[in-house]
Structures are given as C-alpha cells and as structure tokens.
C-alpha cells in the first residue's frame, strides 16, 4: 500500500454544528437590501435560530477582500469577502479567534455556476485562512433547493418552512420596496417615506417572527399560498403609507436598474449608492425586484426540462408541474402587489422577456441575468416602463459582460433606447456616476419632452392640473394609483393623462 495520501492538499470542510451548539450560535448572512435582510432575520428567529445580517458592505470591505483572496476577483466577491472578514476580524480582536469560531457561523448562497457566484466560498475560505480563522464554520445553501436537510452535525436544518418563509419575506419586502420607490421622489415632506418604510419593515419583521407553524412540508406551502396572514400585514403597511402626501406633477425620468444580481439588489457602497444618487439627481428609480430573479431561476429550470420534451419520458409532466408552480409564485406576488394598491412595479412575463431577447441572446445561455438583461431593456423600452436603463455590471463579471456585449446589437437596432451600462469596480465612483449622468441628462430631456407632448395632447398644464388634484385630495396620497397608460413612461405625464381622462377634453380656442 501507499504510505499515505494525507500529505496532499484537501479543501476546507466546516466542522459540524450540533443541535446543542446551534442554540448558542449566531448565523451570519448578507448580500441583499436591508429590508429583505431584516425580514429574513425574523424568519430565522421564527425557526428558532439566532441570526443577524452582516453590516452593510463599505469600501473598506472592498479593499480588504482584494487583499485577502486571490487576485482578479469581480467586485461583488471582493465586497462580500471583505465584509465577512472585517466583521469577523473585529469580533476576533474583541473576543479572540476561538470564541468567534464558536459563536458565529456563516450561511451563504451557493449555486451551480455558471459564473464565479458558485465559487464565492473559495474566496471566503482563503480570506478566513489568511486572517487566522481556519476553524470558522461556513455553510453553502443551494439557491435552487427548497429542502436541503440538515448540515453536518444536524444543527442547521434548511427545510421547507425556512425556505418558504424566506421567499415570502423577499416577496413582501419587494412589493414594499416598489411602493417606496414610487413614493419617495414625489413626497411633499422630505424624509417622510423613509420613516414610514422603517416602521413598515419593523412591522413586517414582527409578522414573520410570529408566523404560525403549519407543518414541515406541503402543509406549509399550501398555507403560505392560501393564507390572508401576509396580505393583512401588507394592507396595514398600505395604511401607513396613506399618511404620505405626494406631488406627482414633478417631471422625473424613470430609470430602470438592471444588471448583476448583487449590484442591482444592494443599496450602498458596492453600487455607489446609485439608487439614492439617481433620486438626488431628479430621477424616479425602478428597482430590480428579487422576485423577478427568482422567477427567472424558475424559467431556467423550465427551459432545461423543455429541451427534454420528446426526448425523455416524463419530461412533459415535469414541465407542466413546474409551470404550475411558477404560476402560483407569480400569483402570490401579484396578490401581495394588489394588497399595496397595485402601485409597486409589476413582474414582467418571463416568456415575453425571452421572446424579446431571442434575436440577440439565446435563452439557454446561463450565468448572470442571461437573456433577461436584454429582454428587460427591450420590455421597458417598448412598453414605456422607463426612460432609461441603468445596467450595473461588476468589473470582470463573466456573464454580464456577454449580455452587455449583445446589447450592442439592440442599441444598433433601437438607437433611441437610452442604455447606460455602468462597469462597477467599487472604487471608481466619479467615473461611473459621470457616465450615468450623461445618459441621465438625455433621459431628463426625454421626460420633459414627453410631458410637453402630453400637455398638448390633453390640453392640461401643471397650473391647471393643481386645482384638479386639490379637488381630488385622495390623488395626493401615496396610496392613490396612477394608472400606467402605455402612452407615456413618466409619473407626471401619466398623472396628466389620468386627469384628462377624468374631465372633458378642452375645446380648441
């Protein structure tokens, strides 16, 4: 026999977390926007786990991530690696490395590629080794598996109630985020929306913390689908928004955010705080809902099965079952959206996105947003959902650069589509924002032009609109829905169109 194979390199394998240990352990997670993270914390608590989101990633984390892991990372890897390392290092300085390894574990999403996203854990492991925390325990959750059983040691159980709770938490915070972004740019009293949102997130967290237990598997799924529990909570959220007064005659371009998942989702240094920056520059931001990403993941699974129809027995049945699940998912989102007055942005139909993108990008090319990035840009353009697309792509992002490259064909065919692909390095803010501003300037002009056209079409001016709005006080509330006419993208233009529909057209002089 060989002497031994022990001297060869082996990869990191976390030590087990036992059921006894988990009671004293705090689960760290991150990578989403703050609303979703707070609610996910409550979902963990509801399942008996003590969890907390990592602090928001900042520029120091980027530098730390670059320093600790292999060179050439994309910036989301650097931010998230540095974020974890900095937090743990701070704790280790306070209580010692051994105590940190006992007290915390990290849970992160893993995937089956095709990009570096599936390999983030490698950077985390290297960083932990480099700061002397080799024994720190980190666990991967497969984002495509609702039930993954218990981790080594049996302490952490990724089961259906936890997964469904997390998904419902994301859906609820998605629609809340949608309502928030449709309100804040038009609020009359600055800061009021933020205050209400903070209150609503705390309220939703409590709703999830006290979520009733309805079985381990299908019982919990059926309950989440059918219950009025979350709808009631969202109606309460809607009531809280009632207090916000808005002025929707402010002419603002709508900027749709697309791009790589992490950069389009988080709000902070990793994407140069671009959501807030755009609002401060006079835009209304159309944020990227996480629900749309989940819907896309379902589509990807469906597409894989579609290929096997006629090739393998049972593929058609599997396809029908998953299509049914996708319909239920979308129905659940729309139900929540309806609880907020149908004001949050709608979820685009995945098959429409696929059809729109087809001439430019194959739907089976996986990684990043794939054809969805192209499809969303065309969808927003054709349906007048936004004046401009701001696409956030990490420097060195493998799949996103491909979709962005394919967009050259789109902009060649539709030169009027305002498309700002922003390559985010994390430390080149001025360069990125100035690029965005160039396109935003054109978007503003376009929003004004659109508004003037609507004024001519309706014969209404802002001065004439004011008394009409005052006469209908409910229209000045954040909870009043201005229908999207399909004739204009902007809120102000659609408000005029809505008002014009409510009064007889003015006679020509």
């Amino acid at each position: 026999m060989n002497i031994s194979a022990k001297h060869h390199f082996r990869t990191y394998a976390p030590a087990p977390v036992t059921k006894e240990q988990i009671e004293h352990v705090e689960i760290l997670f991150g990578g989403l926007h703050w609303r979703a993270e707070q609610v996910l914390q409550a979902v963990f608590a509801n399942m008996g786990y003590n969890a907390r989101p990592l602090p928001p990633a900042i520029k120091d984390d980027l530098l730390r991530g670059r320093e600790l892991a292999d060179i050439g990372q994309c910036c989301p890897t650097s931010f998230t690696t540095g974020n974890l390392a900095n937090f743990l290092q701070g704790e280790a300085d306070r209580m010692g490395a051994s105590e940190v390894s006992d007290r915390y574990i990290h849970v992160t999403a893993g995937s089956c590629g095709a990009c570096r996203f599936g390999q983030y854990h490698q950077s985390y492991e290297l960083a932990l080794r480099n700061i002397g925390l080799d024994s720190f325990r980190m666990f991967l959750i497969d984002q495509k598996q609702p039930e993954q059983g218990t981790s080594a040691g049996g302490g952490l159980d990724i089961n259906m109630p936890l997964t469904v709770g997390a998904v419902w938490g994301i859906l609820c915070t998605d629609v809340l985020q949608g309502l928030e972004y449709r309100t804040r740019p038009y609020e009359v009293q600055a800061g009021q929306t933020d205050a209400v949102v903070a209150e609503c997130v705390a309220y939703l967290a409590e709703v999830f913390r006290t979520r009733p237990y309805r079985g381990r598997k299908w019982g919990t799924v059926a309950w989440h689908m059918s219950t009025g529990y979350f709808i009631k909570a969202l109606r309460e959220v809607f009531r809280k928004f009632e207090a916000i007064e808005v002025d929707r005659i402010r002419v603002k371009p709508i900027v749709k955010i697309t791009g790589e998942f992490y950069l389009q989702t988080v709000e902070g240094d990793p994407n140069y705080n671009i959501h807030r920056w755009l609002e401060s520059e006079g835009a209304e931001v159309y944020p990227a809902a996480i629900a749309v990403w989940l819907d896309y993941l379902i589509r990807c699974q469906l597409q894989k099965i579609e290929d096997y129809v006629g090739v393998e027995k049972g593929a058609r049945a599997k396809l029908a079952a998953l299509k049914g699940a996708q319909r239920l998912f979308r129905w659940s989102y729309n139900r929540m959206r309806a609880a907020l007055g149908d004001i949050p942005f709608e979820m685009p139909d995945q098959y429409e996105l696929r059809r729109l993108a087809a001439p430019y990008f194959h739907h089976r090319l996986s990684g990043g947003e794939g054809d969805m990035l192209v499809g969303k840009a065309l969808w927003a353009h054709h349906k007048k959902k936004a004046h401009m697309i701001c696409e956030l792509s990490p420097y060195g992002c493998m799949p996103n650069t491909m979709s962005v490259g394919a967009m050259a064909g789109v902009t060649g065919k539709y030169p009027e589509l305002l498309y700002a692909p922003i390559e985010v390095k994390g430390d080149a803010e001025v360069h990125a924002l100035s690029r965005c501003q160039m396109i935003l300037t054109e978007a503003k002009k376009r929003a004004i032009r659109e508004f003037v056209e609507v004024m001519e079409r309706t014969g209404l001016t802002p001065e004439e609109a004011k008394p009409l709005l005052e006469a209908r006080s409910q229209m000045n509330r954040a909870t009043y829905r201005i229908p999207h006419t399909g004739l204009a993208a902007g809120m102000a233009a659609n408000t005029l169109l809505h008002l014009a529909g409510a009064r007889p057209a003015r006679q020509a002089p």
């Binding site: 026999m1 060869h8 089976r364 490259g405």
Partner: protein, 402 residues
Amino acid sequence: MAKWFAKPPSAAPLSEADRAARAKLRVGIPKVLNVWTTHQFWLGFFQALRLSPRNLVFSSDTSDAQMREYGSGRGTVDCCYPVKCVSGHYGELIFGQKRRIDILFSPMIHSLSSFMDGHVMESLACPRVMAAPENIKAGFLRERDVFAENRIAHVAPLVTLAEPKLVPRQLFDALKAVVPGLSIEETARAVEAGFATLAAFTDDLRARSRDILEWCAREGRPCIMVLARPYHMDSGIGHEIEADLQACGYPILWSQYFPTDPDLLDWIFRADLAEGLIRHPFDIDDVWPSSYSANTNEILWGAKVAARVPWITCAIRLGSYECGMDQPTFTPVQQIVERSGTLFFSFQELDSTKPAGSVKIRVETIAYYLECNSPGVMEAKLRHMDGPGPLQTARASAESPG
C-alpha cells in the same frame, strides 16, 4: 423483433440535387475557445453529412495581425482576450477567404463532454465562452448586417455536448435551413459519427501521453504537465510557452489528454481511494467541491495527477487576463501541486502580446529548477507510491530480453 422495432427510422435517401448542393457547401468554423478540444466532433459531424472535408475551413491561429486586419472595430465589450479575439476569426472567415464560405458555423457550446462526467456536478462551459458567438455577432450587426452583405449564414446553435441526447435536435434546428435535404434522423447519425471521431482522436492522444509517461519511467526522466484551458493550445493565446519548455528537453503533457486507463488511475489514486478521501479516481470533491465547470474540473484533476505521478516534476499553469473561471482556482491549484513537492510555475494574465523577453527568462529559470530538482522530486514522489506501477511495469517489460 423488439430490437428491430427499436431501431431509429432511417433517413430518406438524399436526392442528387441535395447531394450536389452539399458537395459545394463551404462551412467556416472559427478556431477558438472550446473548438480546440471539440474540433474533431465537428469534422466528424459535417463529413457524416456528406460535406467535403476540403470545404470545412477553420480560421488560423490567433494573431495580432488577424485582429488588426479583420477584427478591428468589431468589439462590443471589454472581456478576456480569448473571447475578444473571436472578432478577428469571424472577420478572417468572412473577408479573408479566396473562396467565399456559405455558412459561418460558430457553436455556442453550453456544456462539454468530459471524461469526468458522472463524477462531478456538471460539465458546463465558461459563461463568457458559451455566449461569445452572440457577443461577437453583435459587432458584425451593429452598423449593418455584414453576414447578409456577404451572403453568409451565421449559424450559432446552442449545443450541450454533455447531454448527447439533446444534440441532434439542437443541430438539426440550426442547420435545416442551410443544409439541403437535412433530416433529424440523418443529423442524429451524424452526431454519433461526430462523437465517435472525437473519441478516437482523444484516445489516440491519451495513448501518446501514456507512451511519454512510460518513456519517462523507463528512462527515469522528468516531464511537465500543462494546466490550462483548451484555447491555450492556440499559439496566439498560450504563446507557445510549453513549446519553449519542450525545446529544453522536457516532454509536455496536457491534463485534457492525460491517459485515463484504469490500471494507471488505480495506481495513482490508490491511497486516496483506500483512505476514503475520494470515491473514484475522477472525484475531485476533496479539493474542489464546486465542480460544475468542465475545463476547471479538468485543471483541478490535472493538478491532482501532477501532484502524484512521480515523473511529472513540474506543473505549468497558463491563465488569460481577466479569466474569472481561473481566478478562484489560483490558490487551490498551486496548493495541490506544491504540497506534493512538485514544482509549480504559473503564467497568469496572458494577453494579446507575447511577452517574449520575460517568457524566455522564465523558461530558462524553470529549466534550471527542473534540472536541479527533478531527481529529488521523482525520488520523493516514488516513495509515496504503492510499489511498481503500470508505468514501471511497462519499463520492466521493455527492458526484459523476451
């Protein structure tokens, strides 16, 4: 009887007109990315469709001149050089042929047929590599349709070579409009022929690699394992670094074509298997749990092999500028190789320009290290192996008078 019914229906015979049309059909294939390890599949496939081998045209190796002459101004995005340079290959096939091609065939290879299939999570291609044709195409459509102007059909089917059942339909759907008289049955047979041609070619190269290893064992000579992606075989991307090392007297093995004979693999991984560290010689879960990328998997496996085979005294890692697939593997690959005492050298961030001076200096350095350390490395690694392995047995047979 049951077998007879189970036979796939045979294709309708090809008409004379279709046969004649196919004989004239010229297909241009960009010699890029994963075509470097699948070219024999495409040759076997198209020849089975009765296209003349003389009408199957591959573009040249990548070069600065190719990019300047044919690909300039066609780039749509900044990405790694192996993808960026595809514009030059497209341009060469469109503008640089004495006889015009009819089809520019640029497969979007979504997954690869890998010898590790069944022991890894997946065998996907890199997301940039698989999407490259869509990206490069955009550069030829942005201002005007260059393909239509030149009467060339751009055919870029998405192909899942790791899922052979799906391939006939993928290729039939893409080619039915441009290959006269094509049927799904004929496509299915051509796909089988393609896989058979590829397997024969790969087997031949593996046998040659085994010959090299047996020679090394017989002569007590060291060799070098190259850990790289298929397109590093392109002289314009890998810059022939391995050829410079070979010129110093060290035979070269590529991990993609390392012999996979069970007797050899059993000997190499016997201790790992016995200690339950792996389930199979192709299992890389012990070093790389995220085993979904075919080329990454093969690089990691190659590193494990290099760390164990005594006569591989050095591993050379080649990586291109901005390669996101390589980036997370830098440390594991280096660790796997170096922990065993095997020499490890890496040429990272390779780009369009060959850094000839620095390559020359490094090659001299590597050769010097190999000369000084190879005997010690071989001896130390042999001590860890379980007796005379099949390579040494071959050595003994070669030496025996009978």
